[in-house]
């Protein structure tokens, strides 16, 4: 019986063997063709994904919030505190309610406009902070003060009725 101990002919070599060669040099070698293939596939996927995001946002624009939504009692949130809440809808969006001063309320989306980390209100700084990349937003208007966020935080209007806090879409 002829023994095939060494696979000398590349034609005879099974795919699994040529994909995982035992020679260190071959195992760590990346050919120009492989590199170009990887580069094209990777950048192609990125470009395609970007296109899909753009098309999706054009075809299905975000709907403005309808009506008023109850958040909590006025007495639940002390001055300088924040309150997290969610509004259920087509997609559940987390928000924060900030009690800036007496009778000064703000409501912002909690997702940072940079990479959607959860932002939080820092009462010692009187700013909204995103801890991921040290981005800061104005607690008053939601404007970007510092860091990588590209857009201000989306804001909701706060309405107080009989000691209860409601939010609604900001009227233009």
């Amino acid at each position: 019986m002829a023994t095939k101990n060494t696979v000398s002919d590349p034609q005879d070599m099974p795919n699994w063997k040529s994909d995982f060669p035992i020679q260190q040099k071959k195992a760590t070698h990346v050919s120009r063709r492989e590199f170009a293939k990887f580069l094209a596939l990777f950048s192609g996927t990125l470009a395609l994904a970007n296109g899909v995001i753009v098309i999706r946002s054009l075809l299905f624009p975000a709907k403005p919030l309808e009506g008023e939504h109850y958040v909590c009692q006025e007495t639940d949130v002390a001055v300088g505190q924040m309150f997290q809440f969610k509004i259920e809808g087509a997609e559940t969006i987390p928000y924060i309610l900030v009690h800036l001063e007496e009778n000064e309320w703000r409501a912002f989306e909690q997702k940072c406009t940079h990479l959607t980390c959860a932002v939080r209100y820092r009462d010692d700084l009187k700013k909204i902070e995103c801890p991921c990349h040290h981005g800061f937003f104005s607690a008053d208007t939601g404007e970007v003060l510092q860091g990588p966020p590209p857009r201000p935080l989306p804001q909701l209007q706060v309405v107080i009725k009989e000691g209860k806090v409601y939010v609604k879409e900001e009227s233009a």
Binding site: M1, T3, N5, T6, F20, I22, Q23, Q24, K25, A27
Partner: protein, 189 residues
């Protein structure tokens, strides 16, 4: 490939008949922290009841290593110098395929670590131009690391053999075994 001082003129010669069973090689090997203080060389007793003869088994560094060929995790690689390295620890799954496949019985599975460990010809030393630890401590030169000219001068009645036949399988190794002069191949079973 990074630059090394690996000397391709040097080879490893094992002379089983000269082994006196002192275990110095095992002790020296186990001093190395890269092995986890485990010896990668093994001294075996041939027939202890009737003989004091011992043999020593170091990784033979096959040209077409069975251990690497059977590894399902692609953990064992052979470098440009023909050294077959011990399992890449993040890849090794401790399946023991190599332990079963090696015709020389070299790889051992370390149960505590769930890893295969075997001799890598002291790559940290040989790649820096030094000799493997076991060969430097062997008092009877049963383990010798040097050039072919040196071994030919020292052992005029022996021939280094690196071809083995296990049944139908022919195995060529990087490490030589000293055999009586004129031997071409070692036929095992």
């Amino acid at each position: 490939m990074p630059e090394t001082n690996y000397n391709m003129d040097m080879a490893f010669f094992v002379d089983m008949q000269r082994c006196i069973g002192c275990h110095a090689c095992e002790m020296a090997c186990a001093e190395c922290e890269t092995n986890g203080q485990e010896s990668m060389i093994h001294v075996n007793y041939v027939d202890r009841a009737v003989s004091v003869q011992t043999t020593v088994q170091v990784c033979m560094h096959c040209e077409n290593p069975a251990c690497a060929n059977v590894c399902p995790a692609d953990a064992i690689h052979q470098d440009d110098f023909g050294v077959v390295h011990s399992a890449n620890t993040p890849r090794c799954i401790g399946c023991s395929n190599c332990v079963l496949a090696c015709p020389f019985g070299v790889p051992k599975k370390m149960e505590e670590a769930e890893l295969m460990m075997k001799c890598n010809m002291c790559y940290d030393r040989t790649s820096a131009g030094k000799k493997p630890m076991c060969a430097t401590v062997c008092p009877s030169q049963a383990l010798y690391y040097g050039t072919h000219e040196e071994i030919a001068r020292m052992r005029p009645n022996s021939t280094p053999v690196n071809s083995f036949k296990f049944g139908n399988q022919e195995v060529k190794t990087k490490v030589y075994v000293m055999m009586p002069k004129g031997t071409k191949q070692l036929i095992v079973g």
